[in-house]
């Protein structure tokens, strides 16, 4: 509850300096709210100057803050060098660019009546309330009375914790639990549930998994000998016999997707190897207990027909198993290995034999050591890149620009989905070089640049210039270097449906308003940590704005 703590310390600081002719001004609290830096010293002004000097006081407070920050990093922010100067970890909430607030930009103010934040457009003056002190947002200045000023205070006390407490104390079981209990109770008599379509069944499976109620009993509901596909999203509670039941009841399964299957054993995989003779797509997440031997046996027996193999969170999948995949599954078109702690450069050589790949994912290689490095990755992509429609290199932190310019650019001509999120070594120049005049590629539909923290405006501009017609989903989460100019140019992407601009601090109401007007296909904008987006920003039907700060957080505001 750092928020409350800060607020209280502020109050006590003001009380200490309670001389009669000094009026405490709450400005520092409010201006520091957005960045949560703790440079705020209680600013007081002489009463004789009156409230007219408030603006000056605020300006001086802001400039003193700026000075304080200048002492910390005395370089000029506009060239972006200071970011590289920072060697240690800087908490994101405290980190801030001066450059992201260009001169003459819009200001964020707090409405004195509804306490919502709102944008004061550059060069305009907002309406004030009756006393002439507090500023009013557009919604309130249109309204009339301010008799209800004291009313909200009382309700505010119903804090989040209280609601949570009430929810915990409430002993009435939820309707979902009741239904699942009922289903589990009469699982033997499946006919009693009546006819349910396969689509509904898949949905019910998701619901039951979300309620974490899938177990050896309830799994029976989803085992139908006619099915060729099975997806179970939470296998935590299914015991060994339940997992064996999958192969016993559904021998025709071609595609098997098991998430959180920590209880799956070598014996289970061996049993699948023997009985699921038509299996051609396997997706496992978290098979901690399964060893190499079982995987190798599986690939040797049914690998011939395998089209798809995805594995996540495995600590026992070794180089030997990768070699087995690559030798025994010549038809493999999709290979995804994520968070396999043993993954390193050695693995890439055998994978380069899989020339039929259309989708390749190698994400989060081993934490210790180098993981996947540039040179072997370039070799791999030059070998298999021409067929790839989708490439996922999420979290490969050691990769450098050469992967983009020497491998992806010349070889990945069919690429439509590119995910390089978390590849922190990629630079603006590298990404710009990839996209500038990349004529062999017809344009990406999905681009994920999340947390490639070095990327600046030029990278995004080049990507937009190349793919603005085709781009459907774009993720630029945490690219703090971006400025408003680059964000505005996003409105060229006419077909964009999903956009994540979280933690891009330059994002503000004006840019969002432009998206609302020009990107008519946009369905979802994610704006976590965009403190310059206020709840007064216009939106339109069919567009979801996720993560606006004002929708979730009560901003402390003291009347004065």
């Amino acid at each position: 509850m750092s928020v409350d703590g800060e607020d209280e310390s502020m109050v006590s600081a003001e009380e200490d300096s309670s001389e009669d002719d000094l009026i405490p001004i709450a400005v520092p609290v409010r201006t520091t709210r957005a960045t949560r830096s703790r440079t705020s010293a209680a600013v007081t002004v002489d009463k004789s100057e009156g409230f007219s000097s408030k603006a000056d006081a605020k300006a001086s407070a802001a400039s003193s803050k700026k000075n304080a920050r200048k002492k910390v990093d005395s370089s000029d922010d506009s060239n972006g060098e200071d970011f590289q100067d920072i060697t240690g970890y800087v908490s994101r909430s405290k980190f801030s660019h001066k450059g992201r607030l260009p001169q003459g930009a819009n200001k964020i103010e707090f409405c004195s009546r509804c306490r919502a934040r709102f944008t004061v457009k550059a060069g305009t003056t907002p309406a004030t309330d009756n006393s002439g002190i507090g500023l009013l947002c557009a919604a309130c200045s249109g309204g009339s009375s301010d008799a209800s000023a004291a009313a909200p205070k009382a309700i505010k006390k119903s804090s989040r914790r209280k609601i949570q407490k009430a929810e915990v104390e409430c002993q009435v079981p939820s309707l979902q639990d009741l239904c699942i209990q009922k289903i589990a109770g009469c699982i033997e008599d499946v006919e009693a549930f009546g006819d349910i379509s396969d689509i509904s069944m898949a949905k019910i499976c998701k619901i039951i998994c979300r309620n974490r109620s899938l177990n050896t009993d309830t799994i029976q509901l989803f085992l139908d000998p006619r099915h060729t596909e099975l997806s179970l999203y939470d296998c935590t509670d299914i015991e060994a016999p339940g997992l064996l039941n999958i192969a016993q009841f559904c021998p025709k399964i071609r595609s098997l997707n098991l998430i959180r299957c920590g209880r799956i054993l070598d014996e289970t995989i061996n049993y699948y190897t023997e009985h699921l003779t038509e299996l051609c797509s396997l997706n496992l997440s978290g098979p901690f207990m399964v060893t190499d031997a079982a995987f190798i046996k599986l690939f040797e027996k049914v690998g011939e027909q395998f089209r798809q193999f995805c594995l996540e969170h495995s600590y026992r999948f070794t180089f030997k198993a990768v070699t087995a995949v690559c030798q025994s599954c010549p038809q493999l078109s999709r290979l995804e290995l994520g968070k396999c702690t043993l993954m390193d450069d050695e693995w890439l050589a055998p994978i380069s034999n899989l020339t039929g790949l259309t989708s390749l994912g190698l994400s989060y290689p081993k934490d210790a050591g180098k993981g996947l490095t540039t040179e072997p990755m370039v070799k791999l992509l030059l070998a298999v890149g021409s067929g790839l429609g989708s490439l996922d290199l999420e979290g490969c932190v050691a990769l450098e620009d050469a992967v983009l310019t020497e491998a992806i650019r010349p070889s990945c001509v069919r690429l439509e989905r590119l995910n390089i999120s978390g590849c922190e070594e990629f630079t603006t120049e590298g990404v710009a070089a990839l996209f500038t005049d990349w004529k062999v590629n017809r344009g990406l539909s999905v681009l994920n640049l999340r947390k490639c923290i070095m990327l600046g405006d030029d990278a995004l501009n080049a990507a937009i210039a190349h793919s603005h017609e085709t781009l459907d989903e774009l993720d630029i989460n945490s690219l703090e270097e971006l400025t408003k100019d680059a964000l505005v140019s996003l409105s060229r992407c006419e077909n964009l449906t999903k956009l994540d601009v979280s933690w891009v601090r330059a994002m503000d109401d004006e840019v969002l308003e432009r998206f609302v007007q020009s990107n008519l296909k946009l369905e979802q904008v994610v704006v976590w940590g965009n403190h310059r987006i206020t709840e007064c920003c216009p939106t339109r039907k069919g567009l979801r704005v996720v993560g606006r700060e004002g929708d979730y957080v009560t901003l402390p505001f003291r009347r004065f």
């Binding site: 409430c170 009435v172 009546g194």
Partner: protein, 113 residues
Amino acid sequence: MAQATESEYVTLESSDGFQFVIHREAAMLSGTVKNMLSSSGQFTETTEGIIHFRDIKAVILEKVCQYWYYKARYLNSVTEIPHFDIEPEYALETLMAADFLDIFILVHEKLRV
């Protein structure tokens, strides 16, 4: 406040045209309904207090309404809570409806006053 004019009851309409008029408080136990009725935008659900559920049949919606009253009745009671029975033939569909209606609201609870 706009809420001053709103009535004590809301109308829920099922996919096959049955209307259920129930107490607003009971319906508000559902996260989805609560969001629909208390949204700050001028949606027809908010202004007229009628909600159409195009995916929920009358038998299921009736069950759900019964559950809301059951929950409202025993929410903070100290007496023993009787069992709420669901017919097995409706269990799956009720589960789907419940999932749609009862999105976990704590996370999205709007705390701004």
